[in-house]
Amino acid sequence: MAKKIGTVIHIYGKIGVAILALVSELKVGDTVLFKGKKTEFTQTIDSIQINHEQVAKAKKGDDVGIKVSQEVDEGDEVFLA
């Protein structure tokens, strides 16, 4: 079973960006799996933002912004692939 690292809590639909609430560490370069009712795809994390700043990694408890390659929904879960 893949390790869950967070949940999508907000979407900026027009620009394809999701805000994740992390329950585990996330790094630039990680490959993650988005899974939800209508969602299932994997992608590599190109960049992570916390509080308007670029970071290389984020920890449990952070809310992070990441660019998503396909449409996601609020509530979708994110796993380390």
């Binding site: 027009k14 620009i15 190109d46 933002q49 509080n51 308007h52």
Partner: protein, 391 residues
Amino acid sequence: MLNKKLAFFEGTFLLIGTIIGAGYLTLPYSFLKAGIWSNLFWLLFLIFFVTLLHLFYAEVVLATPTRHRFPGYVSLYLGKVPGLVAKTSFVFGVFGSLLVYLLLGSHFFELLLKPFLAGFNGFWGLDLDKSITLIFGLAMSALVALKINLSAKINFFITILTLFLFLIISGFASLKINPVSFLIKPEESFFFPFGLVLFSLVGSLIIPEILKFLEVEKQDKKLIKPIVIWGTLIPGLIYLFFAFSIFGASGQHTTKEAIAGLSGILPQNLVFLGVLLAFLEILTSYLGFGINTVETLRKDFNFSKLPAKFLVGALPLSIFFFGASDFLKVMGFLGALLVALDSVLLAKVYAALKIRNPGYQFQIVRAPKALVVFAVAVMVLGGAFSLYFNF
């Protein structure tokens, strides 16, 4: 990662696409009712102030590490009561906008159906307007409840196509301008255009998203400044061209939704296409906005699914049946009251940034205090006078 130029264009386009909605369709009629000079004055004056307010909002979003909607920022910086005022304004604004979509959508629906409506005078004792609004409203409510909308890409395509067609229509109309139009004596007050222009120009909702876009594309945050300036100026100039040409060509026959009055002046097919595209644009905006409102009611106001869907469908229709049936008045009222109120709160939040965060260095716009006070005064006085004279 995009290069700087592409990021600038994409950001500017996001803002233009958000600002240009349905409000501008009323501007040629505003030219007819309040005269060219008051309209020119408010358009130019408010382009400046709305740009400033958009910049203030960008500054507020960047200065605050946590993510909020506008009422959240007001609560954070100004306290509970102003926060509650902002939240109330937000709720009224959302349902007011749904009402505008309902009224404008059914108006265009009626224009499209006109050739097939000979002999039909309504049903259940309702007149034609009310019957059509009821049918349109119920159909939209059902689609919103079922979450049926076109894909984001098709919606975007319709927006571009509509804008493009309206520029062509304005271009044709500009060739048919009759100078006599500009001699028509205004009937309404100098403040008539205030609410309509403000309603048509504001697009602050998208500012946090554009900032997030710059972040994920690893662009300099300061790029938001030219994006906001151009992204507000271009819609303003398009409005000027649109209103000037359509009113100039239609004169006394200018209609509230701008297009129908062009029959007999422009080729009939072009006018029909304009009505059709405007209808599609309003319909898709209505669906997108309605579906979003259901989600907002559920997430931020703890409504369960069914009551949220019922409210989004039933409330605008109920307000219509209680007598709010003129989209021009509704837009003018929303602009003069709610947009002006939000603008005052925003200027006050901006002014509070330095007080709440001593030593804070402005990143986007460093406005002198006098300018902030002036912006507040314009919104308070403009809003108050237009409510007094027009309602």
